[in-house]
């Protein structure tokens, strides 16, 4: 790993400028911190040093040869040069050798646009190739995992994936077989990689050797926008960025963002499934009112009026809230300050998955609590003096003989295997049930009084509180392509102001 935690510091010169770093820091890590770009393939801050790509050459004053900076510890008084002609020349020829057997199939390669070879050719290469030899042909489009495709011709043998398998997942599923220009990355025989962290291999592969089955050929990466968010897939709360093409109204992929405290450089494959159910065709797009066993669409103001009239109609009767732990702290705060403080609602039920195993943990990132904000929900409830434990109270809600239920459904049906079953049972209640949801499926259950479309997690900002009690910020929000969708806070604000107006009248 790049840096070692100590208090001792060393000062050395990087391109003539004094740089002070903790003792044990490599020149590569120090340069990265100082935003000095040293080209590299095999070095990755989350993995051990291999020193196999020989690309990150630097010149140390007083030493006869160039050295690799990823395995060079900074020592006091060292004078490192990364920009001289000698160094630049070595980068250029290192790149030519990396490309010696590379098929140069960028036009059909999924990595194009975020490929190390392309990037470095433009920044440190730009040579005219002197290679006249035939390229070595190797196996292509190998199916090496549930989510992976491997092209061994594009591979530059940086061994990042091999080290990931050995060090992070400790499965040791990948190796470099054979030797010299015939060497290829692969699994043992026809075996497949099956663990829950496969797509990290696609992320760390600096070239197009590993590509994702899910994302392959879907979109060119330069068309994608990227916004920082938090993975709502479990209570760990990994920092992620969501890649989307807003003009196509489609979310394409999720990638991990570096977060030292929570997820480091990685995220799990379960977390990448959070985008399922976010397609426009799977979303509830309009407000629906039930009228004589049929749903009819209605406008946003009409829905607000309808909800307000329900609230006045059921004033003094038993009103319940059924909420899942997949909303943000801000939403809970707003929801409870209205319903608990203003409307005097005291019966609040948690809507959780039947199959959840709260204490499961896979030892890396994934936790059994598949809700991002269980802690936040409990904290908010406690703040409004409703004492709760983590438990599934769906059954209790069904038998609570409430007159009016406002049900805030889970936003990720992928982590809720019993979602449809729950909907069916909820819709058969005698009580008047208003369902706030993102899912199109809700339209199949005619018993609900009304269906209110919500925006989903990539479309909002706010905070989750993860299992450790850390606040996790959803920083960037895409404009929702569900134009009739409600933001929970806005919705409650409108209800609140309408109630005030009606009280004044």
């Amino acid at each position: 790993m790049g840096t070692v935690e100590t208090k001792e510091e060393v000062t050395f010169k990087l391109n003539g400028i004094d740089v002070t770093v903790p003792k044990g820091t490599t020149v590569m890590a120090a340069a990265k911190r100082e935003k000095v770009a040293i080209p590299h393939f095999c070095w990755h801050p989350g993995l051990s040093v291999a020193g196999v790509c020989r690309f990150c050459m630097v010149k140390v004053k007083g030493r006869p040869k160039l050295e690799i900076s990823c395995n060079l510890e900074a020592t006091p008084g060292m004078e490192v040069d990364t920009v001289s002609d000698e160094v630049k020349d070595s980068h250029k020829w290192a790149l030519e050798f990396h490309l010696a057997n590379h098929p140069l199939d960028c036009p059909i390669c999924d990595q194009a646009g975020e490929c190390g070879l392309q990037k470095y050719y433009m920044s440190v290469g730009k040579y005219n190739s002197q290679m006249t030899e035939e390229k070595v042909l190797k196996p292509k489009a190998l199916d090496v995992g549930d989510k992976l495709v491997l092209d061994t011709e594009r591979c530059i043998l940086c061994s990042r994936c091999v080290r990931f398998e050995n060090e992070v997942t400790k499965t040791g599923g990948l190796g470099i077989f054979d030797r010299g220009d015939r060497a290829i990355i692969g699994t043992y025989g026809d075996e497949k990689i099956t663990h829950n962290y496969q797509e990290n291999l696609v992320d760390i592969c600096p070239v197009g050797a590993f590509t994702s089955k899910e994302f392959r050929f879907k979109q060119r990466v330069w068309f994608l926008k990227e916004k920082s968010s938090i993975c709502p897939g479990c209570s760990t709360g990994c920092a992620v960025s969501i890649h989307a093409k807003p003009e196509m109204e489609t979310y394409f992929r999720v990638k991990p963002r570096y977060d030292k405290k929570v997820n480091g450089h990685w995220m799990c494959d379960k977390g990448r499934e959070i985008l399922s159910g976010l397609d426009k065709k799977e979303r509830l797009e309009n407000s629906y009112l039930q009228d004589q066993d049929e749903f009819s669409t209605c406008e946003r103001p009409d829905m607000i009026n309808h909800l307000n009239s329900l609230l006045s109609r059921f004033r003094g009767k038993k009103i319940s809230l059924l909420v899942s732990a997949q909303y943000t702290n801000e939403e809970y705060e707003r929801l409870f300050s209205f319903f608990v403080e203003k409307m005097g609602v005291r019966s609040i039920f948690q809507w959780r998955s039947k199959e959840e195993k709260l204490n499961d943990f896979d030892g890396i990132l994934l936790r059994g609590d598949r809700n991002p904000n269980t802690r936040g929900l409990l904290d908010a409830l406690r703040k409004f003096h409703i004492l709760k434990e983590v438990e599934n109270e769906f059954e209790a809600c069904l038998t609570s003989s409430s007159d009016l239920i406002f049900a805030f459904s889970p936003l990720l049906s992928s982590s809720f295997s019993s979602f449809e079953e729950d909907l069916a049972r909820l819709s058969k209640l005698k009580s008047c049930v208003c369902l706030f949801t993102t899912s199109y499926q809700a339209r199949d259950y005619i018993g609900f009084n009304s269906l209110i479309p919500l925006v989903s997690f990539p479309e909002k900002t706010g905070h989750y509180t993860n299992y450790k009690g850390e606040k996790r910020e959803l920083e960037g929000a895409y404009p929702s392509f569900i134009h009739e969708g409600f933001d929970v806070c806005e919705l409650v604000n409108e209800l609140d102001s309408n109630i005030k107006a009606s009280l004044r009248a």
Partner: protein, 156 residues
């Protein structure tokens, strides 16, 4: 499933104990297996993983890296002929062509060929160039005239 003999198992265990990590012992362990079975195949590698806890991928990386580890059952007699400089000057090419001729005569007679021929780097006896090994036996000053006689000794 191919089962390792007790003696082999004992040897493997002693190698595994010798190093800090099991992975470090792969080279000598593979040598022992090749000595017993003449080659190393999937069954041996998987047995190593099952009985001795060596990762199969790590073992296979080593097996495929070194050409001295054989992954298929070799012919009864392996001819290793030096094709480095000294022997080359003394006529390796011609002698090897002669051996090929000799071997093709088996095909004509529809007899099973007991020999395999490989060119290998320097055997360290340039004074006796051209040099060759037939299994463990060393021959110096091999020439087109005497090579057939040598090989006939093995197959009578």
């Amino acid at each position: 499933m191919m089962i390792f003999s007790e003696a082999l198992k004992e040897k493997i265990r002693s190698y595994l104990e010798r190093y800090e990590t099991k992975r470090s012992a792969i080279l000598p362990v593979l040598h022992e297996i090749q000595k017993e079975f003449t080659y190393i195949d999937d069954e041996h590698i998987l047995t190593l993983e099952k009985d001795f806890g060596l990762n199969r991928v790590h073992v296979r990386e080593v097996v495929t890296f070194y050409s001295a580890y054989l992954t298929e059952k070799p012919k009864k007699f392996r001819i290793l002929f030096c094709d480095s400089v000294s022997c080359h000057i003394e006529g390796t090419q011609k002698v090897m062509a002669k051996i090929e001729d000799f071997m093709s005569s088996y095909k004509k007679k529809e007899k099973e060929l007991p020999f395999s021929l490989e060119g290998v780097p320097c055997l360290g006896v340039c004074g006796g160039a051209p040099a060759m090994f037939v299994n463990e036996d060393r021959y110096l000053n091999v020439s087109c005239d005497n090579v057939e006689a040598i090989l006939k000794k093995y197959d009578h």
